[in-house]
């Protein structure tokens, strides 16, 4: 039998692999630091792009209006882009781990649409609701919508990789039809439009701070990333490993729903972001989740910063909402990801 030979051979490659492993770790850390530098650079560009007359020299000279512009408008805007980009990308990754499917993310499973329905409900029923109340309602709706999707997912007869996002997109379509119908009746279509298309132009000091919550959630997502991978393997497998399946799934649901809801309430929806960023990262560095999360966060922040800078410069002095730029670029990347395999077969 070959069984005894295996343990005998095992220690040798393991000991040889240790320094190799460390070297790879150092190299990937160096690359990550480089990535962070690129994001910081993009953030710096983003700080000084804008209609307002803002340059580094005027900021240094201590001109009070420039200072105000910087602290009230430019800095909050850049911060919110970074936070939202990181959080949405990590939320997408968590969704993908939980559903064991590479093509799902909050905007392809109905989470974002549910959050929009939640905001509409609270706007219609309690017009004077506080930001916090709006956000909590949106989160509850988002969690309910995502849970509905996961329930439907369990009942699908054949779980093909592609049918999962299809069902999600359709569920999102049905939910947003309901939203549109009631928005139409209550004359809120225009308001609704601003939640449909992500846009950072309205971000000011005092209006973005909720996004720090999603920053914290992103960190929790990082710490718990491995658990979501395990939970994705199924209830029995998770229980065998000594984890509480329902608790892990609930944690994932709460993180994803809160992130989607807070981002929709503060800036609107940014489609496909959570889908393309984790997929591109996995193409580049592979599927080790723990290692992928920081990359996903960095990529997400950088991607949204870049799209926002494009949106602000392409039609200067007018501005194109970041959601429009991301959905145009993102759908092309999504198509590439879908058709990539087919091309290699042919």
């Amino acid at each position: 039998m070959t069984a005894p030979a295996v343990p005998a051979e095992k220690p040798a490659p393991a000991s040889a692999a240790a320094p190799l492993e460390r070297r790879r770790f150092l190299r990937s850390t160096a690359a990550l630091v480089l990535g962070v530098c690129v994001v910081v650079l993009l953030a710096a560009v983003s700080l000084f792009v804008g209609v307002g007359d803002l340059s580094l020299s005027s900021l240094m000279s201590g001109d009070p209006t420039t200072h105000m512009l910087f602290w009230v408008s430019q800095l909050p805007r850049t911060l919110s882009i970074v936070l939202a980009g990181m959080a949405l990308s990590v939320a997408g990754l968590i969704m993908q781990l939980m559903a064991r499917n590479k093509f799902v993310e909050p905007s392809t499973v109905g989470t974002v649409e549910s959050a929009q329905l939640g905001i509409l409900a609270v706007t219609v029923l309690l017009p004077g609701a506080s930001m916090f109340l709006k956000m909590s309602t949106a989160s509850v709706f988002a969690a309910a919508g995502t849970a509905l999707f996961l329930l439907i997912l369990r009942r699908i007869p054949l779980r093909n990789t592609l049918i999962v996002p299809l069902v999600g997109i359709m569920l999102g379509g049905v939910i947003s039809a309901v939203t549109t119908f009631f928005a139409y009746r209550t004359d809120l279509l225009q308001t609704l439009n601003s939640w449909m298309i992500g846009d950072f132009s309205g971000v000011l000091r005092g209006r973005y701070e909720l996004l720090w919550i999603v920053g914290a959630l992103t960190l929790i997502g990082y710490l718990a990333a491995d658990r979501f991978t395990v939970a994705g393997m199924g209830q029995d497998f998770t229980t065998n490993l000594g984890l509480n399946y329902n608790r892990v799934m609930a944690l994932g649901l709460v993180i994803v729903s809160l992130i989607s809801a807070v981002v929709v309430v503060s800036v609107g929806s940014i489609p496909f972001l959570g889908l393309i960023v984790p997929n591109l990262v996995s193409l580049l560095i592979g599927d080790n989740v723990r290692r992928a999360v920081p990359w996903v966060a960095v990529f997400g922040a950088g991607f949204v910063l870049l799209c926002d800078i494009i949106g602000r410069t392409i039609r200067y002095p007018y501005e194109i909402p970041v959601g429009v730029v991301v959905s145009a670029v993102g759908s092309v990347i999504f198509l590439y990801l879908l058709l990539r395999k087919r091309g290699s077969h042919a």
Binding site: I152, F181, S327, A328
Partner: protein, 338 residues
């Protein structure tokens, strides 16, 4: 109605045969639905009719005419599209056809300017748009449908993403266009049933009549095409040519309905699915008229109920979207898609 053997039909098209055989012949349904549709049209034309008849009647006639034309265009294009793609869940609009039409309109306004485009006049503009649409959609969908691994789920997802991409680029370009030009553009494709231009309706009817004549000449090959590529070729149909012609017919029909009332995503899926349910045997001679009649009933009846009972205006497409989305989900979940 003579019942020909359909035993060789591919599984996707004979799904219903596993259920109890219905004894009601398709001809019966055509008559019943025809009567209902005619009654609804009559009610729509005459309900609460007062004041200046010379003003109200032509307006209502244009409205009903455009609804009938849209029902016809959507019904026929969906069924034919499903025949050549051998499935019951892809529709031209799910594959992004109407989003493509909107994108082409936008690109034209972006490239030529709204004023220049309008000065071409409606007939030339319509021909130009339809030609571009047919050419582009043809290249795109030919490539998709003749490629290697043809998983239906992949096709569906690709279609939906293409639709999203076309809409994304349209809205990107629309924001780059001058605001005054944008208003021209908006009028071009966000017309609802309430403000259809009578002249445009005429051109559209002419275009529909033209492709219908082509389709009529091809009518015998449709049932054969539904047998699948291999069988159709064995039975002597030039498959490539027939599929090409059908895709062109679909493009024109989609362009007409989108130009008239704007994109409606799930409408075709809804009426085609219902039509298949009502037909005991899949034959285009019975499925096509039933789908069109169902479309007329849904549009005229739906508009009537929304306008007169609920006092809404143009929310019909939203309701169709809702119901159609649920039907689509059920089709997906029942595993009707293979």
């Amino acid at each position: 109605m003579p019942e020909t053997s359909t035993s060789a039909l591919p599984a996707a098209l004979t799904e219903h045969r596993r259920r109890p055989v219905r004894t009601v012949p398709a001809g019966f349904w055509i008559i019943v639905l025809g009567v209902v549709a005619a009654a609804l049209v009559a009610v729509f034309m005459t309900i609460e009719l007062r004041g200046n008849l010379g003003y109200a009647l032509p307006r209502r006639a244009v409205k009903v005419g455009s609804m009938i034309l849209v029902a016809y265009a959507v019904g026929v294009s969906t069924v034919l599209f499903q025949t050549v793609t051998a499935n019951r869940i892809l529709t031209p609009s799910i594959m992004g056809f109407d989003a493509l039409y909107v994108l082409i309109q936008t690109v034209l306004v972006f490239a030529l300017g709204g004023g220049a485009l309008l000065s071409l006049g409606a007939p030339i503009r319509f021909c130009l748009e339809v030609l571009l649409m047919v050419g582009f959609s043809f290249l795109l969908y030919r490539w998709l449908f003749t490629g290697g691994g043809k998983s239906l789920h992949l096709m569906l997802l690709v279609g939906i993403v293409f639709g999203t991409m076309f809409r994304g680029f349209s809205s990107l370009l629309q924001r780059l266009i001058d605001p005054s030009e944008f208003i021209i553009l908006q009028d071009l494709f966000f017309a609802s049933f309430n403000n259809v231009d009578a002249a445009l309706l005429g051109y559209s009817a002419a275009a529909v009549a033209l492709v219908s004549a082509v389709a009529w000449r091809m009518r015998h090959s449709f049932d054969v095409l539904a047998l699948g590529r291999e069988t159709a070729v064995n039975l002597g149909v030039d498959h490539k040519r027939a599929v090409t012609a059908t895709l062109i017919i679909c493009s024109v029909l989609v362009a007409v309905s989108t130009a008239l009332v704007g994109p409606v995503t799930f409408f075709g899926l809804l009426i085609a699915s219902l039509a298949y349910q009502l037909c005991a045997k899949f034959r285009h001679a019975s499925v096509l008229p039933i789908a069109v009649l169902l479309g007329i009933i849904a549009l005229v009846g739906g508009q009537l109920v929304l306008e007169r009972v609920f006092d809404f205006d143009t929310a019909l497409s939203i309701v169709i979207e809702f119901v159609g989305g649920i039907v689509f989900l059920i089709l997906l979940l029942r595993g009707n898609v293979k």
